[in-house]
């Protein structure tokens, strides 16, 4: 059953134009769905339309079958975790968490019990009397969570909840949120610009670009089969090469990008000289160590610009005669390659897994 149904939702702001543009989507009960996109893509506005902080110019919002498009926030069965937590600075942690129930005039004993329960769930029992100002970022985050789940909403809306945390904490919270989702069994709708976060936590990801949902799928789906160069580059990194079709012979497509010629296995038919964009994942490429390429790998050559050590990964930039350098990721743990690095400035051959090359019609960015 769909717990959230958005139909042709459109919202403009003066000066900003159409921020949400004809968005239609469904979210099933119990799902963990992420709206992913860069800042300004309309994902937060979509969330605010669902929460009721904004009203759409056109379209409708339904939550568990009920049309809530025109309802005030306090009449909607959803709760929100805000980006900057939005804790009430003049209230203690337990007052913050209990606020929703207090407003609903729940009996005092019940409020107390539920506050304890919610705080236990986020692991903050001992801070019940503290003021928000006395908490760390992660603790505030937990209070915001506890406050939002205490009323057991049908949907929990999370607006960039982890963006203000440092990297370590963020990773830990990602896991915790995931567990919380499983424990509570309610629908989570997360908004984020962080692709890792989206990939780690979500059952399903909706990618937004300029007010529209451009792709909808599970994380592996999106990663393996991006629908556009935009998605390919947004989810993980991709080398995007603008190329022209040089010819097609059966399943093999020959493309040219500047000085580079590649032959790619491709069933789809292209016109000769048609513009295409190739998306090549850095981790599917490698610096060639053998004299000969393995079967199924294409080879291009270039000059090494530099190596960037990123912990478990080594990122190598190679000048292949195009505008942007070609990036290669090498897993250090497995190969121990760092000892045999070709020096900066030296010529290098790059081998690419042909099967991983994705071809989009048209040139990206034009």
């Amino acid at each position: 059953m769909n717990i959230i149904e958005l139909r042709e939702l459109t919202k403009s702001f003066p000066g900003a134009g159409r921020v949400v543009d004809n968005v239609t989507l469904n979210i099933r009960e119990g799902e963990f769905v992420t709206l992913l996109g860069p800042s300004g893509c309309g994902k937060t506005t979509t969330l605010r339309l669902i929460a009721g902080f904004e009203y759409p110019d056109r379209g409708s919002v339904r939550v568990s079958g009920q049309d809530v498009t025109e309802l005030a926030p306090y009449h909607r069965p959803v709760n929100t975790v805000f980006q900057d937590y939005a804790l009430f600075p003049h209230m203690s942690v337990e007052q913050n968490v209990g606020y929703g129930m207090w407003i609903a005039r729940a009996p005092r004993a019940e409020i107390a019990a539920r506050v304890i329960e919610a705080l236990r769930m986020v692991g903050l029992q001992e801070k019940a009397k503290a003021r928000p100002a006395e908490l760390s970022g992660g603790q505030k985050q937990r209070v915001a969570l506890a406050r939002a789940i205490i009323r057991r909403p049908k949907v929990l809306l999370l607006d960039e909840p982890l963006s203000a945390l440092d990297a370590k904490l963020r990773e830990a919270m990602q896991v915790e949120l995931r567990h919380l989702h499983q424990k509570l069994g309610i629908t989570f709708l997360l908004v984020t610009h962080d692709q890792t976060e989206a990939l780690v936590m979500s059952d399903r990801i909706l990618i937004m670009e300029r007010g529209r949902v451009v792709q909808d799928g599970t994380p592996p789906d999106l990663y393996e089969r991006p629908a556009s160069p935009y998605v390919a580059n947004f989810l993980g990194t991709s080398n995007l090469l603008r190329a022209n079709v040089a010819g097609q012979d059966g399943d093999v497509l020959a493309v040219e990008a500047g000085p580079i010629r590649l032959r790619v296995r491709m069933s789809r038919r292209f016109e000769k000289t048609e513009k295409v964009t190739l998306a090549i994942r850095p981790e599917k490429s490698a610096l060639m160590t053998n004299a000969r390429p393995d079967p199924g790998r294409a080879v291009i050559s270039g000059r090494i610009i530099d190596h960037l050590f990123q912990g478990d990964v080594l990122r190598t930039s190679v000048d292949i005669g195009l505008d942007t350098p070609f990036l290669i990721d090498t897993q250090l743990a497995s190969s121990g390659a760092s000892q045999r690095l070709p020096p900066t400035g030296s010529e290098a051959q790059i081998s690419i897994d042909e099967a991983s090359i994705i071809i989009f019609p048209g040139w990206s960015g034009s």
Binding site: Y74, D84, A133, A148
Partner: protein
């Protein structure tokens, strides 16, 4: 109008500026500046000291050398029926003017912060104009209005005049506070089921408390001390400053010094009280 710097905001700026390390060398300029500052402070307080000293001096003329210590002037001031009545009138006016100002001024600050409407810029400028406009203009223009409306002048017309003149104080203070108020906490409150009035009462109000108390105190003291507007709008009753004003034209005795000392003591108490009341909040916000 950026010239309107609310006082409590200033104090906060001040509180935020931390201690710094002193410079390594002693420098002459610094000592000259400090000496100058001392002189200015002395000049600022000299009249106030004179006022206080002569309120205890047993001489009808305020002249040196001092004579005996006396409390007579206080005894006289505190048994002066006209003056006590004027004092009560001043309390009455200041209380209601402050209450009215707070209500209208807070709503106005919200309107400026939260809504867009045609003529908003004119409204913004108009509402803070009395802050800098000589009081005599406010007084006279409102006198014109009451005459056209056929209102008889009374303490109530004075209250309306003061409220109009002082709204600018509340608007600038509360507006400055609203700008720093996180709108998300209001949304959070609504999100958690609170009606707008509940959100205002439980969330907004406690968070603009300092601006409200601060501007209320400023308004109260300003209204208590107001002359130019009162001069044109008062009827049968006099406020304390108007009483003093008319007394100054009549015979001047150190009784006025005694009244003045009492007023200054009261004002000082109010200010210290307000600084103390608002102190904790500033600390919390700093984080």
């Amino acid at each position: 109008m950026s010239i309107a710097q609310p006082a409590s905001e200033e104090i906060r700026v001040l509180a935020d500026a931390g201690d710094e390390k002193p410079p390594r060398r002693r420098d002459g300029v610094a000592w000259a500046l400090k000496g100058f500052t001392g002189l200015v402070l002395a000049a600022l307080y000299f009249p106030i000291v004179v006022l206080i000293v002569f309120s205890f001096n047993d001489n009808i003329v305020t002249t040196l050398p001092l004579r005996e210590f006396t409390l007579d002037w206080y005894r006289k001031a505190l048994t002066n029926e006209d003056m006590l009545r004027a004092t009560w009138n001043s309390f009455h006016v200041a209380f209601f003017a402050t209450a009215l100002t707070l209500i209208i001024g807070t709503i106005a600050a919200f309107a400026i912060d939260r809504t867009e409407f045609p003529g908003k810029n004119v409204f913004r400028r108009l509402v803070v104009l009395p802050l800098i406009l000589p009081g005599i203009i406010t007084g006279i223009s409102m006198l014109n209005l009451f005459r056209v409306l056929g209102f008889n002048l009374s303490l109530e017309t004075v209250i309306l005049g003061h409220a109009t003149a002082l709204i600018s104080v509340v608007v600038t203070q509360v507006y400055a506070r609203l700008l720093r108020l996180n709108r998300r906490i209001e949304e959070a409150s609504g999100d958690l089921g609170a009606r707008p009035w509940q959100t205002f009462l439980y969330i907004v109000l406690p968070n603009i408390r300092s601006a409200l108390i601060g501007s209320a105190l400023i308004c109260f003291t300003l209204s208590f001390d107001e002359i130019p507007v009162t001069f044109f709008l008062t009827g049968r009753e006099n406020t304390l400053p108007m009483y003093i004003y008319s007394t100054l034209r009549k015979g001047i005795t150190p009784e006025i010094n005694a009244i003045g000392t009492l007023i200054i003591a009261a004002s000082l108490t109010i200010i210290l009280l307000s600084v103390w009341l608002l102190r904790d909040e500033g600390r919390e916000e700093k984080r």
